[in-house]
Symmetry: C2
């Protein structure tokens, strides 16, 4: 069992965690499965990078741009799907510090246009996966003005995703409930 | 009136063309309009870039990755929208040389999953804009085995988009016909 420490405040994807497969990899492999089986088509968005200098298609200077959308988007049964993935080693709550204001605005816009928008959360140490609708997320932030969401809130209001062999995370069940 | 020459074979976006606004800019401004008016939410995908070396969030070595999806995707009335944009200075046909095999596969996958997929084409010198459904595009390629599509095919089978002031390209009318 490999264990590494990651910053709880940033909630960033770690390179490895206690099961040897990152949350990001689990999502990507699930998406591969859904694609191969013609169940859904969901992609990770490329990180926006601003190229400053390039020569013969090799980039010699560039910077990461601010993220204004979410990690993943795609299509399930014709419907637009859009979500942000966050993981944390905290056993008590998910910090909201790493969700940008622009991302919350993006979620609102997706909802306004009839898309299915959510936050996909992995509590690594608890081995728990939750999907929280963006409607509930935005409402929580608006009403509570807190900088984190306790696990208990997820237990009560979020959809629990089970880890499987293939796909690693069968989150299509959640989408099925939304359409 | 500014005129520049671009390679007809590549169909790449030019930096300026005869009206002073590129096709890409016209699409992006239309998308801004649709976003502001809560009509649709459609984004240009970031160019996928593989970072090789970076230091303090400045990238010092990177390469452009192969494009395996299309230029734009998003949501209109809950439906998933996905399209590729191509422009050409040719007055007779659109070269297919710049549409990658992976992009055609992506279009097929979007269709299979119930999304709305199309090719948005600008014949710069003719001042014409067409939307060709990916179903027709894929069928054309399959049946004709040609490396270009004549303008006459667009005239007969594609949806003609009119240029306006705001949004510059009112392509939402096409989407409305598809849902």
């Amino acid at each position: 069992m490999i264990k590494i420490k990651i910053d709880e405040k940033t909630n960033n994807f770690s390179n490895t965690h206690n099961r040897g497969m990152t949350f990001e990899k689990e999502i990507n492999e699930s998406n591969e499965f859904y694609k191969d089986e013609n169940i859904a088509l969901i992609y990770k968005r490329p990180t926006p990078i601003k190229v400053i200098k390039s020569k013969n298609s090799v980039i010699t200077e560039a910077v990461f741009e601010d993220v204004s959308t979410t990690d993943y988007n795609g299509v399930y049964k014709g419907r637009y799907i859009d979500f942000e993935a966050k993981e944390t080693t905290s056993k008590t709550s998910l910090s909201l510090a790493n969700i940008q204001k622009h991302q919350l605005e993006h979620m609102e816009n997706v909802i306004k246009n009839g898309g299915i928008s959510f936050l996909f959360v992995n509590f690594i140490e608890l081995d728990l996966y939750y999907i929280l609708s963006s409607e509930l997320l935005l409402n929580y932030i608006k009403e509570n003005k807190k900088k984190s969401i306790p696990v208990s809130y997820f237990e009560e209001h979020a959809y629990k995703v089970k880890r499987m062999l293939n796909p690693p995370l069968n989150y299509i069940e959640y989408l099925e409930l939304q359409i």
